[in-house]
Symmetry: C2
DNA sequence: CGATTGTTGACTAAACTAATCAACTTAGTA
DNA sequence: TACTAAGTTGATTAGTTTAGTCAACAATCG
């Protein structure tokens, strides 16, 4: 039941981007540096967010990325779905036909409850919430380094 | 964020065992057949449950396994912890020192909330609850086959 | 034109999953 | 006592997934 680096790094990258809203285009290179992720890898992480219209990218010199959708309108459930796929702990939740036991399987019911519990957290938290929490905690915004 | 077969098959095996409580020793071979898991694999799945004292095993002819702990006393959180390890979606929750960002990382706070949400489900459900739900749904108990 | 920046797809090493297999131990029974 | 039935343990393995890297490409700005 572990999140992969896609979900972890991807959400951090998006938060980083949100924290730099209003500063014009943000370089992936800078996000990569601040979030300590390699640039080539970050490019892959950000791709589904661009495809989904959360992020807008501009190529070429003076290019970069910026948030297209308001942070208040971005639910973490949406972000995680894009980055990791369904958060259902087992596939038979989204697709009961995968297992002929689905109909009478009570362990499946438990996994459904778990998915609902996770969704409640992720549906009720927006990127804006994370921005505010981060600003409260201070730190990080400047992109300064901690060793 | 997927559960592995260890958690899925293992919990199903334990539930199967609970459903056959009071019938004396249960053969792993029978559990394997009913749950459609290979016997050699099931042996590995059940091992941590034996080591933890939830299940008692008896070797040799007329051997088998039985529940040592009452189903009312077995929380799913305990079972899952044994089968899958911590349900924390990221390692830095159980061990903040793994990442130097832990202290001021607000995405980590989200993962903490997710872990709490999952734990609430798993802490509040016992094996006995599953036994009762399964008996209500009928089916399966006889070990009969469905094709 | 050329430097910069994002895009895409191919590729890869390492780790993990989901097993299988074989040798072993233990317990009952003929 | 020998045999068989059962669970135990450790080695091994094929396949998949993860977590990237690399290279070729496309677009934009000056």
């Amino acid at each position: 039941m572990k999140l992969s680096t896609r979900g972890r790094y991807g959400l951090r990258a998006l938060l980083d981007l949100a924290l730099h809203q209003g500063e014009g285009l943000v370089l992936l290179k800078d996000i990569a540096r601040r979030q300590e992720v390699s640039l080539p890898y970050l490019e892959h992480l950000i791709a589904p967010l661009i495809a989904a219209g959360l992020v807008k990218s501009t190529r070429g010199a003076r290019g970069g990325v910026l948030l297209l959708k308001a942070p208040t309108e971005i639910k973490l459930s949406e972000v995680l779905e894009l980055l990791e796929g369904s958060i259902a702990p087992v596939d038979c939740i989204d697709n009961p036909k995968l297992c002929h036991r689905s109909e009478f399987c009570v362990t499946r019911d438990v996994w459904v409850e778990m998915k609902i519990a996770m969704s409640q957290v992720l549906d009720s938290t927006t990127l804006q919430d994370l921005v505010e929490r981060q600003r409260q905690k201070g730190q990080i915004e400047t992109g300064m380094y901690y060793i």
